[in-house]
Subunit: 197 residues, 4 copies
């Protein structure tokens, strides 16, 4: 599972850039075009960091896991499927957030995708937390559920994005960037120093 | 072989999203456009799960294999070549299944690709099953052919897709999703709990 | 080096399909469009098998290597750079071989790329063959140059492609497919049965 | 971290080719079109070698690292995010360097991206050099900062690109190619012969 998961994370992160494109235009427009792409740059950076932080947390969780069962595989595949889907809402956000009539739809799509990723990750986490038999012996005595509230933070924050997309769409990107920073700083402790590397 | 195979599976699964694109349209159309893309979402999900389940089964088979010979490499490369081809019929299905005049051609292309994947996988499986010298010693006494009928299920189901594409094209997607669910649930048992992870 | 090389091979092989695209057309044209793409299917298959066979031979060579030096890294990077370039001539071949005025240019581009791959591979091989200190001890007494003539076969065959592109362009694809089949069948023996898998 | 980093490097290098495209044109134009793409070929080669050389140096540094901490992860993710961004300025450079009015903007974008990569790499390097506790014991006594000047070379050279983009844009590509060649030749010594391979 981990080789496949690592591949999906790395490829999805790298594919994000393929959707940043300069439209064909008469000569002499390039400077303006490059500056006008700023929403795409922000969308690219937000999604890249989202995937990288998800990957770090995914690795921190699975390095504790000794065995996988069917439901865990299903939760993990669901999460990977949404991660691999992320380049699409990222492109839509970058190209449409600047159009007032379409900004709400673009922000909604991005926020819902974020909710689905959080749901998949929460499913993976809760399944492992409630099935300590899947863990390495060294971790089976750890109260893994202790850190569950940190997953609620993401769930609540992504849910806030739904009404926010109708009120002020660009704020959705800010909220998602803030969620990612929170998870980047409040990381799951790595089981050991060597396994993180 | 396994590093190359793992790479092909993960990359093909992640490339699927590149073919989901919002066409250029006047401002204010984005909500409708995103909703109209539902066949592409279904095609994406079906193909992603197909590749993921193929990967799980591929891994389950090859973790039993100690040696590879030329024909096994050839069968495996054929299967990987069709897996890497899957993003194309997935895109065609997503963009044309909603057009009545083109739905049959799109469903046929998708069904035939599914048949070719099943053929390649069946070839890999049958070659290994009939050449126990390729297996790890621990598995050479297992009656590997016992589970052969499960591969027939896929072969029959994909064959049904051909006439179905002429009668009611969308049913082809439903049949292929059902095949994948069957293989996801009726997985090959992993040789050991640790090797699956 | 090997993780990077494996990645380039697997990604280049999988990216080939992104260049197979159905052009936009009025409803009802899909069947014809899919059939008209046959040169793209052949180009895809030829390039996919080329990359896969190169990968097998690359792996067979590097599994004998214990140390790498600067020139070997340079030869290897040159070869990988041309492998990663292959999706471009593959697309050009698929889309232009059917246009009589452009077929020669498309076949030339594809043949020259093949020559460059063969040159890079030959460079890697000859450097290793003439520097036995880079090999594992178990192989340092093997007369590695014994199999050098097989690399000449490829060099000669690719050179034949240049005049052939002017005489009958489709024959270039046939020659390249034949070269790949030759290398697939006359593979370098793997150092040991386990390292191939 | 290393599996994710390796993946980003290999995928970004291979994606570069997707942005080399022959525009649709009347039959008989292909030879001219292929020759007119020469800036794209140079941009592709420069970026491919840049990524490959960054990867070699990245590997040489991280093979000395036994532990990673938060700031090192942050510097590394920043650098990877810019590496994964490189296909975009590469495409812009290839398609616009030949248009006099747009060449400065294209060269600036490419030069600034190079500066950001160098900054990220310098950050990774300086953090490790000033935190010897992160190193393997075998390297903790090495005066790692001794080679710091070589990183200054890159920083200075990329800074020179900014005014150069206004004076003679194509020279920016030459400078960046020269920087890469410098780093390719003046590589960090590998910790041991086996770890490079």
């Amino acid at each position: 599972m981990e080789a496949f998961s690592d591949g999906i994370f790395a490829i999805a992160a790298t594919l994000l850039i393929l959707n940043v494109q300069v439209p064909h235009a008469p000569a002499g427009q390039l400077t303006h075009q490059l500056l006008d792409l700023w929403p795409s740059y922000i969308a690219y950076a937000t999604s890249f960091v989202t995937i990288a932080v998800m990957w770090l947390n995914h690795h921190a969780i699975f390095s504790r896991v000794a065995r996988v069962d069917r439901p865990l595989v299903a939760f993990n595949l669901f999460m990977l499927g949404v991660i691999a889907f992320l380049p699409f809402p990222t492109q839509v956000l970058g190209t449409h957030i600047g159009t007032p009539q379409d900004a709400t739809a673009a922000a909604l799509l991005y926020g819902i995708t974020g909710m689905l990723i959080a749901s998949g990750f929460g499913g993976v986490y809760l399944w492992i937390a409630t099935h300590p038999a899947l863990l390495h012996d060294a971790y089976s005595d750890v109260d893994f559920l202790r850190v569950a509230p940190r997953y609620l933070v993401g769930g609540v924050a992504y849910t806030v994005c739904i009404p926010l997309a109708f009120i002020y769409p660009p704020a959705v990107v800010a909220v998602i960037a803030a969620i990612v920073l929170y998870y980047a700083i409040d990381q799951l402790p790595q089981p050991s120093s060597t396994s993180q590397k």
